[in-house]
């Protein structure tokens, strides 16, 4: 079964989202490397996202494309990246999600991916 892990954290917080030029950045990256090694081929996909200041929300109304600067919703913690994991059960997915570094600094939402096959 596939699970999406949506990683939320406060992108303005220098502790959880330090600038790459700062010394705090290294340990977080190392955490993600370790997670990658540990989860191994259970990771089907995964990407970080640029921050929400780069987001564009798109809607089509009456056939017209309407674009808005910014994310869909203003929230305290923002979607900053995701993984698609292959796990047998929700318990396994929760165990793995808990090892994503930002689970300790923000929130990881685990959502099952439907199987239409």
């Amino acid at each position: 079964m596939k699970y999406a892990c949506l990683i939320y954290s406060n992108e303005k917080d220098p502790v959880s989202n330090p600038d790459p030029s700062t010394p705090e950045f290294g340990p977080i990256m190392e955490g993600y490397m370790r997670f990658g090694q540990e989860a191994g081929d259970k990771i089907l996909a995964g990407e970080p996202l640029q921050d929400t200041s780069t987001a564009t929300s798109v809607q089509v109304r009456d056939g017209e494309i309407i674009t808005t600067d910014g994310p869909f919703a203003e929230t305290k913690e923002q979607l900053g990246g995701f993984y698609i994991l292959e796990c047998d059960t929700l318990d396994d997915a929760i165990q793995l999600a808990a090892k994503i570094p930002h689970a300790s600094m923000g929130t990881v939402e685990v959502r099952p991916v439907p199987d239409f096959g």
């Binding site: 079964m1 047998d88 059960t89 929700l90 318990d91 929760i94 685990v110 099952p112 439907p114």
Partner: protein
């Protein structure tokens, strides 16, 4: 019309339910299918046993009937690969001539699945009562004072999440086991409290949730006989239940423990609870429910409120606060201190912002303050506190109690 025979049969069916559901869930791997099959078999048993008498092994009888029903239904309704796999498995079970011994593990899995932390606590309670307890949606709705539609939707949503997110029904291993057991205990505790101290409305016609919680905890204690906290949880429920009649007087008003007629306390329940807590303590793994049960056992053995070992109770609340550093535990500690060292000492603790601020909307804090101020002869402060408690209370019986207290002041 229900006859004594009907009631006996209904009780036997209910007693068999947790094992029945657990076995069916193991065989079918689907909560809804297991539920439907169990329900159908229970209904058949209710009519058939009326004519034929209760069979020697009612559990085996009802499980066999339920599995056959499930088989028929799968033959009719399922399609494709799912059907053939399930059918093969069930037919194999059917061919085993030996009756299947219900596994302790199956029942535990059911508890852990229904009380999975990925479900909301409301869903955990409803699902446990439905699946492990065998109550109908109508009965559960009546227990929580919500409409049947609301309860049905809550159950459907929970079962959909279990299926769609693949929430496993399994016994957690190693270190996870104790954490998950805490969730199960908490669910049972909330169900019990909902029954024992119903927070809203009149209690007539309500399903007896505390009795259900006791029944389910007995099942859990029978499959986890070496877990001290499970034994203590059952002991705690029995202690509180033993005082049920004494807690309310003939007019339906609340009677505080200090004023209760202790001859009304039900000794057999107290004896059972005492034995359980003794067994729990001997297992030598302390925990919060053991402390709560121990506090209750001190109440149970005291001939009256004054002769209670309050010094010991104060100490026990202090250790409980280590496990549960909550304002409510701190408030109970303050009440015990008031009994031990006098009302002034209790009030001083209650004035502490760590209690007063978080519990400002908790009517019990204000009624306790009212009581202590009254004991000190400070009628103005007492009246203020009772007034505040009256604003916050949402239970008719307690409201009556507070009005009476207020009336006595003037």
């Amino acid at each position: 019309m229900t006859t004594p025979v009907d009631q006996t049969i209904a009780r036997v069916v209910r007693d068999e339910w947790p094992q029945l559901m657990a076995t069916l869930y193991r065989d079918l791997g689907d909560l809804d299918a297991a539920q439907d099959a169990a329900q159908e078999a229970a209904e058949i048993a209710l009519t058939r046993w009326l004519d034929d008498g209760i069979p020697d092994r009612p559990g085996a009888w009802i499980t066999t009937v339920a599995r056959r029903r499930a088989l028929d239904k799968i033959r009719r309704e399922r399609v494709g690969r799912q059907k053939s796999e399930l059918l093969a498995r069930l037919e194999r079970i059917e061919d085993e001539k030996q009756p299947r011994i219900p596994h302790v593990d199956d029942q535990l899995q059911l508890f852990f699945g229904c009380c999975h932390p990925a479900l909301s606590v409301e869903a955990q309670m409803a699902l446990t009562l439905r699946s492990v307890g065998g109550l109908t949606t109508t009965e559960i709705a009546r227990g929580f004072l919500v409409t049947e539609a609301t309860m049905a939707q809550r159950l459907v949503r929970a079962k959909r999440k279990i299926a769609n997110a693949t929430i496993p029904f399994r016994i957690p291993d190693g270190g996870e086991l104790l954490d998950r057991l805490t969730v199960v205990h908490h669910v049972l505790y909330l169900v019990f409290n909902e029954g024992a101290y119903a927070s809203t409305g009149d209690d007539l016609l309500r399903l007896d949730l505390s009795a259900e919680a006791i029944r389910l905890t007995r099942v859990l204690a029978s499959v986890m006989p070496d877990d001290p906290e499970t034994l203590a949880l059952l002991a705690l429920f029995l202690f509180i239940e033993s005082r049920r009649e004494a807690r309310v007087d003939d007019s339906g008003a609340v009677v505080l423990m200090a004023q209760q007629d202790r001859s009304q306390w039900r000794r057999p329940l107290i004896d059972e609870a005492t034995e359980l807590i003794d067994r729990a303590v001997r297992l030598d793994r302390p925990g919060p429910y053991q402390i709560e049960a121990a506090i209750n056992s001190l109440h149970a053995e005291a001939p009256n409120a004054d002769a209670t070992d309050w010094a010991q109770i104060v100490l026990l609340y202090e250790s409980l606060a280590v496990h549960r550093p909550t304002p409510v535990v701190a408030l109970n500690h303050a009440v015990a201190v008031a009994m031990h060292r006098g009302p002034r000492a209790g009030l001083d603790l209650m004035d502490n912002p760590s209690i007063a601020e978080p519990l400002d909307l908790y009517h019990y804090l204000h009624s306790a303050r009212g009581e202590l101020s009254r004991q000190l002869g400070d009628h103005r402060a007492a009246a203020e506190s009772y007034d505040r408690a009256l604003e916050l209370v949402n239970n008719d019986t307690e409201r009556r109690f507070l009005r009476e207290r207020l009336r006595q002041l003037v």
